[in-house]
Symmetry: C2
DNA sequence: TTGTACGCGTTATCAT
DNA sequence: ATGATAACGCGTACAA
């Protein structure tokens, strides 16, 4: 590569005949500098195409103005809108974003944390793959300490970290309630995995069913370890084995796609056989008029970033209480939830 | 925040009673160290939870092991799969990824480049929003120099940078050819923007029409400055004003969603009125059996990263010829392209 | 207003 | 085998 020696503050000093210190003052815009000196320096900077070395600045100032963002899977619709919002908010506050993808693997999460600490990032926003504190081997426990961390979307139980998330339980509760009020007695769920968000949605489902004395069977919940465990075939089987079902809540977009394919295969699409509600919106949901519970993804990204920067700038005497923000979900009604009302 | 002083190599030295140098040897795993010293140091590292400071390392070694990734819009399906692949490949080679989103704004692209240079990243992968070299103000021209850069997906005309992309022209050509061979005489395009990839696809369209002596009218191409200019309403109007059309190629996923909504509105969905081919795949394309030209997105990400790292490690005596890699597109046939065959 | 000199944490050379 | 020390580029306390 073009091995042009990097231009440093010293080169500027030499060219202008001034000292490092004076040049530094101009660049950092502090202290007193005579107008002539200032002008000379600025001219030299342009002439030599000098760009301050942020690495040296970071070392010197003991802060990098970088925040690390760790997500489970960037291919996921939620994560990339989240990342979009975080980057945008970060840039505005003068921070850059170091991006890490764990593929939902805990070990990778540990690696990323360690790496980000080595990089001396100022703070970390984490969509964790860890379910609860007890799942973290104690030799890795320190990774979650001594650095500002904000959890986004998913909680880690018993971890006492700041958390910005959606009202998953309440959102699900409301959907199910509305199903019930429309006469549905047998409501199915399609889900997968065990992260806190999905567990919360299930909790909302169960609460609503309990409250309204609606029967729930284990067989009404189709789930698996990973999303790949929920194949179109399994969904068809699920529907077949639970013919009572009149309503279905799917817990994310990819699952919805699979459900729709399954329904098409068995000739049940567009014929009002099932009432359907999905989670997280997608451009194509419009097409099938799929009612959707929408999360304020970008708001979560924005608030996570704001909160993180707040912690980063916190003086040691200030309160260090952890904060949990739960954003409302938005119910986007399109019709698919009314396919059948007042059954029986 | 917990202002625990950062543990440095000196703390380890103190604790072990050895010198910085010896500790450094153990950490860097070079030179000669007695087994006892080594053991002492390793114990101290664990005890103090020492994590080497990558910032200092970066300053010292004049290299950060970070690559910058600049994309136009991370919300876009292509970009996030791309980012996924880049991060994965980078991590494997020991690099971290600094992520920047420009929102397709040239000015932001300049800012990002400047910033990444200040950060002294080792190289940059760029999905640029610049169309051609002449669009870059000369005071910003230097930003594209003196640092390893690989362009991904989109080219910047006349820039002489490495480029990893898809065979956009050829891919489109083949689709149109197949349309024509199936009897279509009037083929519409829905597009937007002016980036090289879309221009290439249009070129493929025109070439095929020319070669096979098929009529093309300007009105057969619906386009706009940004994607928001292509509303469902405009698509409906477009279809109405070009009733001869029997086949349509849409240049990306979001446009497809809009087209499908438009078709539904006018009662033309699922009735074989139009043959449709889209670009870039999506989970829901399966549902409508939408034939799709698929790009090898992840391959592009992987190869961009590999190429970049190659350049980063290039000795000055080696060839510095720029390389362009054009990956084949894959035609995923699902049926939507056959809706009408042998019209007339 | 300007300059000198030290320290941030590493790495690596040179001397012991 | 180990230690002292310089250098990476910058910021700043202190001196002039």
């Amino acid at each position: 590569m073009a091995d042009k020696k990097n231009i440093t503050i010293i080169d500027i000093a030499k060219l202008t005949g001034l000292s490092k210190a004076t040049v530094g003052r101009v660049i950092g815009n502090y202290g007193n500098v005579s107008p002539e000196s200032k002008e000379k320096v600025e001219k030299a900077i342009k002439e030599l195409n000098y760009i301050p070395n942020a690495v040296a600045q970071g070392l010197r100032s003991n802060g990098t103005k970088i925040i690390g963002v760790i997500v489970g899977s960037i291919k996921n619709n939620f994560c990339n809108r989240f990342l979009y919002a975080v980057e945008k908010a970060a840039i505005e506050k003068g921070y850059d974003v170091l991006f890490c993808n764990t593929g939902e693997q805990i070990e990778r999460e540990f690696q990323c944390l360690k790496n980000l600490k080595a990089r001396r990032v100022d703070g970390i926003i984490l969509i964790s793959s860890v379910l609860k504190a007890q799942d973290i081997p104690k030799e890795n426990m320190d990774l979650y300490k001594d650095i500002p961390i904000v959890l986004a979307d998913r909680n880690i139980e018993d971890m006492d970290l700041d958390l910005i998330t959606s009202s998953n339980c309440q959102g699900a509760y409301n959907i199910i309630k509305s199903f019930i009020q429309n006469g549905h007695q047998h409501i199915g769920i399609i889900s997968y995995g065990e992260v806190s968000t999905l567990k919360e949605r299930l909790r909302g489902y169960r609460q609503a069913c309990d409250n309204y004395k609606i029967q729930t069977k284990d067989s009404y919940i189709l789930t698996g370890k990973t999303i790949d465990d929920i194949s179109t075939e399994r969904i068809k089987e699920f529907l077949k084995q639970n013919p009572q079902l009149t309503a279905i809540m799917v817990l994310n977009n990819s699952l919805l796609a699979k459900l729709l394919v399954a329904l098409k295969d068995i000739g049940c699409i567009d014929n009002d056989r099932y009432s359907i509600v999905s989670w997280d919106d997608d451009e194509l949901n419009e097409l099938y008029a799929i009612s959707t519970v929408e999360q304020q993804v970008e708001e979560i990204g924005l608030l996570s970033t704001k909160r993180l920067i707040e912690i980063i700038n916190r003086k040691s005497k200030e309160s260090d209480a952890t904060v949990t923000l739960t954003l409302k979900t938005i119910y986007k009604e399109r019709g698919s939830n009314h396919c059948i009302t007042a059954v029986k």
